[in-house]
Symmetry: C2
Subunit: 335 residues, 2 copies
């Protein structure tokens, strides 16, 4: 199934079923008013949703054109957002460029930070941020949405709890990140609201592209209309099963919890990067200094995971513009 | 006003108004089915809640005895949970004992981590954890619940957004914490579900004990029936206004967001501590090694902030037992 969320005046929006070709949609109906509600009542509502999705694809229902510009994030708020850094190529590049102390257990225990999950941005929403001096960056990622996961579950069991796969942009402020890392308390100001592609899909919709607990697709990233990278999701060093199990080590996960892959990153330089920070560390390694600046207000970023050789991908497109936040003053001393 | 939440089969529970003496309660009524709903519609519902609270205290309404054992956390789920470490006495002790690298800007920028907010524990709920080897610890804290806070607001404006004050136990697993700090990604496995005292109060309920953006009360902490500490909340090095503004630096906060003080800690050794880790670092500093172990299964912890010289405090009591989680297996390699 493919789902999107129509932005309305509620916190959770209105759940839509989207046709396989992303051209048509219908309201999911009273059984599942929102995606969060559907995830919390999955066993009860899934058969009716499947039947309605089949009828939509068969053209047997009166449907509307699907307009991603009307969409919020598939989950406008989630119970929890835990983002990994599961492409170790990225971590190795960062360590090499900055000559930082080794991260403990980097190869065996996933890196993961806790993000805010109450205020996700839709695929075409402007991104309000306070200052260009914060070093605005994007991070193209894949993610999964899980059902209930018990505390202490193993990776295989965790992988079976995946209900949906998503594509996202983990907005990052690089001026805050290193300071927050040195405190040991992790990212907070460095991670403003995360954005999501309009369509969340059940794993079966990905066919062979959902394999080994990884999204086996290229993620195309364009910055101001120019190709920035198209790394492939299959090079994840940990699977989503590993990441979910890591998050559930000392807590149960409630339905709708989101787990992210971290920025998609490939060993081949030809793949480019899914975030500016990575291109800059490659420049530092290759040429001794970073040459690429961070984003400016009015800059745009576009991200789309694509089927090999085909047109549109399964998740639709993130296409956003960075804007200056209305209330950009701040009384806190600069770091 | 004083609020509690009756545990039921919904995610948000049923909102109760609790009498000033914590003896009686009534349902808040259809205007405010849950505390989260009330916070999201505060301007509309506050006058009716105030009138109902006044009638409850005047004995003018049919009420029930207040039973904290029936209570969930005041907010069983919140949109966001950001916990500071605003008592620098604690940070200085930890740094002295472990001789760690200096934390950047420690005296001027609050430490704060992002916690999970979807699965808070009530004041008498058992605390399921996977292993005693994880080094189970409590952290007695105060916290605030805010209304909407715009991105980039200053501390004074942020303080005015405080709707409620709470008392909490930020459960911590010390075997995970240092490793997660060294990764720079911050706490995740080290912070299982947080617990809350039954009663959330509007700041006016605290009278002079809400002053300077701090809770001016002692927090009494007992471990297995023995006094462990009674540090005073007034020694916070940053105010709650500072902490809220820090959290809102690059994001807006949605109504119901929780901001914590970090473990309450005083310079006077006579105050004791509100967490085991701090007692252990004092033992390391004074005697060269830690003498106190961490918690064992079936251990109990009790926390209550008290009015000076009087009986019960404003928030009621946290009194919990640690138990082994049902599904304590874990396939992740040990750190």
């Amino acid at each position: 199934m493919k789902f999107a969320t129509l932005q309305d005046h509620t916190l959770d929006g209105q759940l839509l079923l989207v046709s396989r070709d992303l051209r048509r949609c219908i309201a999911a109906g009273p059984l599942a008013p929102s995606l969060l509600h559907a995830l919390q009542h999955w066993t009860e509502v899934e058969p009716a949703l499947q039947a309605r999705y089949a009828a939509l694809n068969a053209g047997a229902l009166a449907s509307q054109p699907f307009d991603p510009r009307q969409c919020a994030a598939p989950l406008p708020r989630g119970p929890q957002w835990c983002d990994g850094s599961a492409f170790l190529n990225h971590a190795h590049l960062m360590a090499q460029a900055f000559n930082t102390p080794p991260i403990p257990d980097l190869e065996t225990i996933p890196l993961m930070y806790q993000g805010a999950s109450d205020d996700f941005l839709g695929p075409h929403a402007d991104v309000p941020l306070p200052s260009e001096a914060d070093a605005i960056d994007f991070e193209g990622e894949f993610g999964v949405v899980v059902g209930a996961v018990p505390m202490g579950c193993a990776p295989a069991e965790a992988l079976a709890a995946v209900r949906l796969v998503v594509q996202l942009n983990d907005w990052s402020l690089r001026a805050m990140g290193p300071r927050e890392m040195r405190t040991g308390f992790g990212f907070l100001q460095a991670k403003p609201s995360t954005s999501f592609a309009p369509v969340a899909v059940t794993p079966d919709e990905l066919g062979n592209a959902w394999h080994d607990g990884r999204v086996q697709l290229q993620l195309e990233v364009d910055w101001n209309g120019e190709r920035f990278g198209q790394p492939h999701g299959g090079e994840m060093s940990f699977s989503f099963g590993d990441l979910i199990a890591h998050a559930a080590r000392t807590r149960r996960l409630t339905p709708g919890t989101l787990i992210g892959s971290g920025t998609v990153s490939n060993a081949s330089r030809a793949a480019g990067s899914a975030c500016i920070a990575e291109r800059r560390v490659i420049e530092i390694i290759d040429r001794g200094e970073p040459l690429t600046g961070f984003m400016r207000f009015d800059d745009r970023v576009r991200m789309e995971a694509r089927w090999p050789g085909a047109g549109a991908g399964p998740f639709g497109v993130i296409e956003q513009r960075v804007v200056r936040a209305a209330n950009a003053g701040n009384a806190e001393p600069a770091a």
